[in-house]
Symmetry: C2
Subunit: 327 residues, 2 copies
């Protein structure tokens, strides 16, 4: 164990994850507790601090041995002021100075606040699938599609802290509506929720598929079930999966055309499919991308840390902020 120790706390809608890591990204302890967001801001912040203290204790450390704390939280937020502004998943949270609230309860330690997608991307860049990369973009394929961007050894937050909203890139405007109010967003085609929705629509419209049994049994079609039925040979499941991967490839082409990263990393539920995802996205990318850039394709990879990337990246963000003299 090296001398410099960091605490990462990842605030999610369902779980709070906290962990202690050294400066080389070795995870020393980890803790996961329920968020219970219905209890309100103060109670949730207190639980974040409890999780943090528990992680420190499990690492056989005293809080005074922690150099700095990193918090990963859903946006919108302001990194500079440490304030969570208005996260869609926490509707009663508005302008919460979470950075200072956490720091105050945890020995006034230097603390930094980052977007949850950004810390996850930072974890992969720091010590995961993208270790040693020049630059990477990470896509979280969950209910929606989130994104984190690492450029030039820094988290790229953008001028208003809203960079990386990859899920709301319009790739087919005037087509499928998105929950965000726009049309043709990548998320409307390729998020787990929307893939399940598209499959449900198709089965209800009479398409033949083994997925019909799921609906007949009164259950919901999920992205995970689509993957299972595809592996078992269902044609509709295969078609829907391939379509989703095609739109993901289009999103990746747009990312490549704008920022040209060395690597694109996938995480979230759909990424658990591994090569089934990567191979399909890579195939469509190569088929669709302009001949002018043929052969130029970012490396495509699956995240190393999965659902632990949040707290690991938060700890890494704390180290980064210290190294840059920000905190």
């Amino acid at each position: 164990m090296s001398e410099r120790i960091f605490l990462g706390i990842d605030l999610g809608g369902t779980n709070i994850k906290a962990g202690v890591a050294d400066e080389n990204a070795n995870v020393i302890s980890k803790v996961s507790i329920k968020t219970h967001r219905q209890d309100g801001v103060d109670a949730v912040v207190q639980r974040m601090c409890e999780a943090g203290r528990e992680a420190v204790s499990q690492a056989n450390l005293d809080i005074s041995e922690i150099e700095a704390i990193g918090i990963g939280a859903p946006g919108t937020l302001n990194h500079k002021t440490g304030i969570i502004i208005a996260p869609p998943n926490f509707p009663d949270w508005q302008d919460v100075p979470i950075r200072d609230m956490v720091s105050k309860q945890l020995n006034n330690l230097p603390t930094t606040l980052e977007n949850d997608a950004n810390v996850a991307a930072w974890a992969e860049y720091w010590a995961g699938a993208g270790k040693g990369c020049d630059s990477l973009v990470m896509l979280t394929l969950g209910t929606g599609i989130g994104g984190g961007i690492i450029l030039n050894g820094r988290i790229h937050r953008g001028f208003h802290d809203t960079a990386g909203e990859i899920g709301h890139m319009m790739i087919k405007v005037d087509d499928r509506p998105c929950v965000c109010g726009q049309t043709g967003c990548l998320e409307a085609y390729s998020s787990a929720m929307n893939i399940a929705k598209i499959a449900t629509e198709a089965v209800k419209a009479g398409r033949e598929s083994s997925l019909k049994k799921v609906l007949d049994a009164g259950q919901e079609i999920t992205c995970k079930l689509i993957e299972e039925h595809l592996r078992a040979g269902d044609k509709l499941a295969a078609e829907i999966w391939d379509d989703a991967c095609r739109y993901l490839a289009i999103g990746c082409i747009d990312i490549a055309n704008v920022i040209d990263p060395e690597m694109i990393v996938f995480t979230g539920g759909m990424a658990k499919a591994g090569d089934l995802l990567l191979n399909a996205v890579r195939k469509h990318f190569q088929e669709i991308r302009s001949y002018v850039f043929s052969g130029i394709i970012p490396k495509l990879a699956i995240s190393k840390f999965g659902s632990e990337a949040g707290f690991i990246g938060a700890a890494g963000a704390a180290k980064l902020a210290r190294d840059l003299g920000e905190i």
Copy 2:
């Protein structure tokens, strides 16, 4: 005049522009000559050097008083090696080590090579519309749509030197074909060439418009003419212009969602329309963008340097490369 003097050379398909600027972006001299690309690589490189020497001479300087040279040239190219790889507009150029060829003919001065769209964006960031900005993206609305990206005080080239290909972001895949081989590229809706094409198609399909007279007179409809007829009250011209601005707004939303720059700067022929362009793009941006980010809009501006941004930014890129110790 300050002590540090830089020479910028901008290689275009039609013209070579060269100019001398000091470290504060004061232009001391400028020269424009024809490219005559049909004469082949060696002749064109020689003309670039002639233009450079002429600019130095007009500034009443000796070549030895120049600190460094910047070259702006069409991609694809490799900034690190100084090689032009395969520019679509110079089909007989392949793997031309232009940086070293120019340096050799010009006193072996330290020389840097950058993409033409990148140097133009750098000029606006250094001393133009985006002076003092945190970050900017510049869109060149010409025959095609080019892009240059400035982040964190640096030209963002991307891992394969192909960042900023904004014109080939697919915003409406499976719709209008693009010359690049993809479908639904921003360029297919909003480049000067495609706007003219869309108007021509509409008039030929029987839509009523004062633009019909242009075709009847055996002339071609251009983007400039569409702007003129729109200002004279033609409804079809107004509709086509507005559509093009709507797609530009969608492109800007995608840029904002991915990299969230402080400013987006427009240049090229269509940008000469000024507020007619900016107001329409801004209106559509605000109408279309997700309510989640409502109110968050990059500053939109018209370039200050217009067609001179190339050599000014090339001189600025030479200064930057020196300041960073790259050359």
